[in-house]
Amino acid sequence: MTDVASWVLNVTGLTKRYGLGCPRCAESTGPDHGSSQCPFCQTVHACVNAGFTLYQGEVLGIVGESGSGKSTLMQLINLTINPTAGEIWYREPTQDSTAMNLVTMDGFTRRHFRNDRLGIVHQRPELGLNMRFSVGGNVAEKLLLANWRHIGRIRERITELMIQTELPPERIDDDPNTFSGGMLQRVQIAKALSSNPGLLLLDEVTSGLDLSVQARVLDLIRRIQWEQKMTMLLVSHDLGVIKQLARRTIVMKNGFIVESGLTDQILEDPQHPYTQLLVSSAL
């Protein structure tokens, strides 16, 4: 019995503000006011007081319209931007591992942590890949930064990852510009998985792909989740994508988490007016 399944990520009070803020910010921003920007001081409250826990092997969905703060939240957890306030605790999914606060880590540890323990797949491949490197070079970059040193072993690992992500391994040295959109997403997934991360971040990974390609990429992610019991944070504006992969979902609007719950509850019994609008807007 895994009664108290171990948590992997515990986020509390996470806040990102662009601007100095003013006394009137709190009363004039947020979902009730339909904006995350303060009309008096122009401060943008991109993510306000976000808190949630992610458990080992779980997929948590984050849904919301553009500007809701879901990508900001993702960037905060990916350590690409620094929070204004709040804590991000991470714990290895092994027993008697100690939790560490990612926010207070020093630069060196942080960089290593990011390359070794986190994997991220962006909506636009050029954000996650260096388009001037070969496909294999892109994956190797992450492995090298995660302290892999043996070139033969690195190539072996890349080949293994390409097979796993349904990419032709003989194209390891090819230019990524010759790859299709769906294939580039798979290269990003291969790169993200390369260091066996404890947490995989997926930011709108299927947006902009055509439907049949979306389905294949989602099937791949589902298979990886199933086989490796990978813990994932999945950001999407598409409830269909969330429904397929996440069993719990967070709904964001204007920088705030307005609702969180079991995905079937969010879809069938949405509580917040915005969630009701979102669910009723499904095609």
Partner: protein, 231 residues
């Protein structure tokens, strides 16, 4: 009621469920109003009534797809003691759904790319059964549900309504949950298939599964009901 002396498995106490429709000027609809009933282990508990009286809503409140407005739903769990399904953490709900409580919706909802056999074996694989054994059991169940073998590799999306419903039911029964919630299990089924449903419920009870069914098809199901609640 031969089992009335034992400890209950589900106790619904003064349950209310309202929906606030924010998009229609905050209108409130209340399908479940101060409902109370008790289900005992191993029973087949039948809730019946015409459509719109809140049958499905009760079931979804127990499964926590719906958030109950007030009242309590005490579930006597095998692993977690007596818990109130209306308030326990989502984390525990997900564990219960994997280990103890099954739910069969009125319609089959599956991805159009997953084969009938994979749909049947999924609950078993989730419970940790190895692939071969799960496939063996899944095949036996598909045979029992009278799904022709040439359809097993196809997605049920292409199946007839009755075949889909049989897969839907099979998927709920195959994992032998401790408590099984069935929503209109006989809808869209012919008489032969209805018999399959009755057999499934009968066998599940023999395994010790408690079944709570909501249906308007009282003619078919009442013969197998240990206790009935009319709404």
């Amino acid at each position: 009621m031969v089992t009335s002396m034992t400890t209950p498995i589900v106790e619904v106490r003064d349950l209310n469920k309202s929906f606030v429709l924010h998009l229609i000027d905050g209108r409130t609809i209340s399908p479940v109003q101060s409902m109370s009933f008790t289900v005992f282990p191993g029973q087949h508990f039948l809730i019946w009534g015409r459509s719109g009286v809140g049958k499905t809503s009760v079931l979804k409140c127990i499964y926590r797809t719906y958030i109950s407005t007030s009242g309590s739903i005490l579930y006597h769990s095998a692993h977690h003691g007596v818990i109130d399904m209306t308030t326990i953490p989502e984390r525990v709900v997900l564990q219960l759904r994997e280990q103890e409580i099954g739910y069969c919706s009125q319609f089959l909802k599956v991805l159009p790319r997953v084969s009938a056999l994979d749909i049947m074996t999924e609950p078993l694989r989730r419970m940790g059964m190895d692939k071969e054994q799960a496939r063996e059991q899944g095949s036996a169940w598909l045979t029992r549900l009278r799904i022709a073998p040439h359809l097993w590799q196809a997605s049920p999306v292409t199946f007839s309504g009755g075949e889909q419903q049989r897969i839907n039911l099979g998927r709920a029964f195959i994992g032998k949950p401790r408590l099984l919630l069935l929503d209109e299990p006989t809808a869209s089924l012919d008489s032969g298939s209805k018999q399959i449903v009755l057999d499934l419920i009968h066998d599940a009870k023999a395994h010790g599964t408690t079944v709570v069914t909501v249906s308007h098809d009282i003619d078919t199901l009442s013969t197998l009901a240990d206790q009935q609640l009319a709404l």
